[in-house]
C-alpha cells in the first residue's frame, strides 16, 4: 500500500468563469455552461475528455433564492457527457475540488469538472434586499430550527456572535479589522471581473450601516450572479494539459459541534483543519506566497489568518492593520481577486481556488504576485471547513 498522499495524484488543470456581476441577465444554466466551456478550454482539453461531473450544492431545495443553479443532470445532458463518476454535494464539501480529487486519485475519473453557480444578486433584487436564509422553505428544518424562529435569519446573524466573542477575547477593534475589506477592495481594483472596484476607506467602512453587530455592511460578501468551473485531472495526464497546478496538501476536519450556534470556542475556528493540512506537507506558513482565505465575512478571514499560522491567535487585528502586509507588495497578499467581499460571493471557495490557480500560473494580470509558487486556499470554517496548498507545476 502506497503511503503517497492521494492529492499528489491529481492536478487542477482548468479554471473558467462566466460573466460575473451584481446582476447578469443570463440564466444559471447558461452561466454554468459558459464557465465549463471556459474551464475545459483553459485546461487544454475538450468536452469529450471529461468523464467526471460534480457540483455544489446537490439536490433538494436551497435555503436562499438564487443559491442553487446549474443542475447536475441538465448540465450533463446539455453537454452530452458520458460520466464514470458524478456527485452533487449538498453537505460536506470541505473544498471545491476535494471530492473530485478523491475520484480522480482513485481512478474513477480522469478529468472531472466541478462547478458552483450563483444567481443571488438577481434574487436579492427580486426580493427587495438580501433575503432571509431559509425563506424558500415553510419551516426551519434540522439545525436551522434553533436559529431561524428566534430571528437568526441570515448567515450574517449566525456568524456575528463569533465576531463579538473574538473581539471580546482578543481586543481586536473594528478599526483594525476594517483593513481586510479595505485592502481587498484595493486588490479588486486590479481585477476586471470584480463586482466592486471603487476605492473603499476605513472611514467608509466605519460609516457602513450595521447589519448584525459587530458585522457591518462592508464585512459582508456581495451577492452576485456568476459561475466558476474547475477541472481536476490525473497528474499522469499532465502532458495533455496546458498549465496544470499541483495540489500539495489538503484537509477538511470538523472537530467542534457542527452548527453555527453550538461551536464551542467561537474565538478559534479552523485550527484542526489547518493542522491536518500542515501535517501533510513539509511547507510552512512562511512559504506561502499568496493566500485566498474564505471571506463570506471579514471575521472568517480572521479565523483563517490565525488558524493557518500566518499570525498568532488573537493577532489578526494587528497583522492586517494598515494593510501593508496583506496588500500589493505585502508579505501575505490576501484575496488578490478582491475576495467575496469585493469580487463577489461566488461561494464555497470557488472564486478563491480560481484565483489561486491564476496566480500560480502567472496569469493574474495587474494583480499578479511576482513569482508566486505556493498558494493557500481555505473554505468557510466551523462546521464546514477546508484548507489546501496549491503549488506551481
Amino acid at each position: 500500500m502506497s503511503t503517497e498522499l492521494f492529492e499528489k495524484r491529481v492536478v487542477i488543470s482548468g479554471v473558467g468563469q462566466s460573466r460575473i456581476g451584481r446582476q447578469v441577465d443570463r440564466s444559471g444554466l447558461q452561466l454554468t455552461l459558459d464557465a465549463i466551456a471556459a474551464a475545459v478550454a483553459d485546461a487544454g482539453l475538450t468536452l469529450d475528455d471529461i468523464d467526471g461531473l460534480s457540483m455544489f450544492p446537490g439536490g433538494g431545495v436551497a435555503n436562499l433564492p438564487g443559491y442553487a443553479n446549474g443542475n447536475l443532470y441538465e448540465v450533463q445532458d446539455a453537454l452530452r457527457i458520458t460520466t464514470t463518476w458524478k456527485q452533487g454535494v449538498v453537505e460536506g464539501l470541505s473544498l471545491p475540488f476535494y471530492g473530485a480529487a478523491m475520484a480522480v486519485a482513485t481512478g474513477q475519473a480522469r478529468h472531472a469538472v466541478i462547478w458552483r453557480t450563483v444567481k443571488e444578486g438577481s434574487a436579492a433584487r427580486h426580493t427587495g434586499g438580501r433575503p432571509a436564509y431559509g425563506s424558500t422553505k415553510p419551516a426551519a428544518e434540522g439545525p436551522l430550527a434553533w436559529l431561524l424562529p428566534i430571528g437568526m435569519l441570515s448567515p450574517v446573524v449566525q456568524v456575528a456572535p463569533y465576531a463579538t466573542r473574538y473581539m471580546h477575547e482578543y481586543g481586536a477593534t473594528r478599526e483594525q479589522l476594517a483593513w481586510i475589506p479595505v485592502t481587498q477592495r484595493a486588490w479588486a481594483a486590479l481585477n476586471p471581473s470584480a463586482v466592486y472596484t471603487k476605492p473603499l476607506t476605513v472611514a467608509d467602512y466605519l460609516d457602513g450601516r450595521m447589519i448584525s453587530s459587530p458585522i457591518s455592511l462592508y464585512d459582508c460578501d456581495v451577492p452576485c450572479d456568476g459561475s466558476t468551473a474547475l477541472v481536476v485531472s490525473a497528474a499522469e495526464a499532465a502532458g495533455d494539459l496546458r498549465s496544470p497546478v499541483r495540489v500539495e496538501a489538503m484537509a477538511g476536519v470538523v472537530d467542534g459541534r457542527p452548527s453555527w450556534e453550538q461551536w464551542e470556542d467561537m474565538g478559534r475556528v479552523g485550527y484542526a483543519t489547518a493542522a491536518a493540512m500542515w501535517a501533510r506537507t513539509s511547507l510552512r506558513p512562511g512559504d506561502v506566497d499568496v493566500a485566498q482565505l474564505y471571506d463570506g465575512f471579514t471575521i472568517e478571514c480572521v479565523w483563517w489568518l490565525e488558524a493557518m499560522g500566518f499570525c498568532g491567535t488573537g493577532e489578526a487585528g494587528a497583522f492586517v492593520e494598515g494593510g501593508s502586509r496583506i496588500g500589493p507588495g505585502g508579505v501575505l497578499p490576501l484575496n488578490t481577486w478582491g475576495g467575496q467581499l469585493s469580487g463577489g460571493r461566488l461561494h464555497a471557495a470557488f472564486g478563491h481556488t480560481a484565483e489561486a490557480v491564476r496566480q500560480l500560473r502567472g496569469e493574474a494580470g495587474a494583480r499578479q504576485v511576482p513569482g508566486a509558487s505556493v498558494a493557500a486556499v481555505t473554505n468557510v470554517g466551523g462546521y464546514e471547513a477546508g484548507a489546501a496548498l496549491l503549488t506551481r507545476w
Partner: protein, 137 residues
C-alpha cells in the same frame, strides 16, 4: 418588540418535547440516565457517553451570555428591528447552550458574561421562542 414575524420551526420526534415545554414557559434539555451529562439540542443520544437512554430535564436560570449580536436588518417583511440575540450557557448544566432573543434591556446593552433569566415570548407560527430576560431589569 414583536417577534412573531418569521419562520417557524419544523418539529421533529426529537424536538417536540422542547417546543411543548416552551409553550408552557419551560426550557428543557436532555440528560443522560447513565452518565448524567446534559445535552442540547435534543438528539436522543448522549453527547458524552453516547448512551441512548435520555430523559427530559428542565433548565432553570440564571444563564450567562456566551456571546451576542444586535440585528438591525429586516430580513423578512414585517420583521421588527433592532433586536438582541444572545447565546446563553448554564453553569449548572455544562453542555447546554441555547440561543434566544434578549429582553429586559436595550439590545445594545448586551454584554458577554451578563446574567439572564430563562424566558419565552410569542414567535412565528404560534410557537413560543426562547427569549431571555436581563437580570435586574
Amino acid at each position: 418588540m414583536d417577534a412573531t414575524a418569521g419562520i417557524p420551526p419544523d418539529v421533529s420526534a426529537e424536538t417536540s418535547g422542547f417546543w411543548a415545554a416552551a409553550a408552557q414557559g419551560r426550557l428543557v434539555a436532555e440528560r443522560c440516565t447513565s452518565c448524567e451529562a446534559f445535552s442540547f439540542p435534543p438528539r436522543g443520544a448522549c453527547r458524552r457517553c453516547r448512551g441512548r437512554a435520555m430523559e427530559e430535564c428542565e433548565i432553570t436560570g440564571p444563564g450567562v451570555v456566551y456571546s451576542y449580536t444586535v440585528n438591525y436588518q429586516a430580513w423578512l417583511p414585517g420583521l421588527a428591528v433592532p433586536f438582541g440575540i444572545v447565546l446563553v450557557e448554564f453553569p449548572a448544566c455544562p453542555g447546554v447552550r441555547v440561543a434566544g432573543r434578549l429582553r429586559g434591556c436595550a439590545p445594545e446593552e448586551a454584554r458577554i458574561g451578563m446574567a439572564v433569566e430563562v424566558g419565552f415570548e410569542p414567535g412565528p407560527g404560534g410557537f413560543s421562542i426562547p427569549s431571555f430576560v436581563a437580570v435586574g431589569a
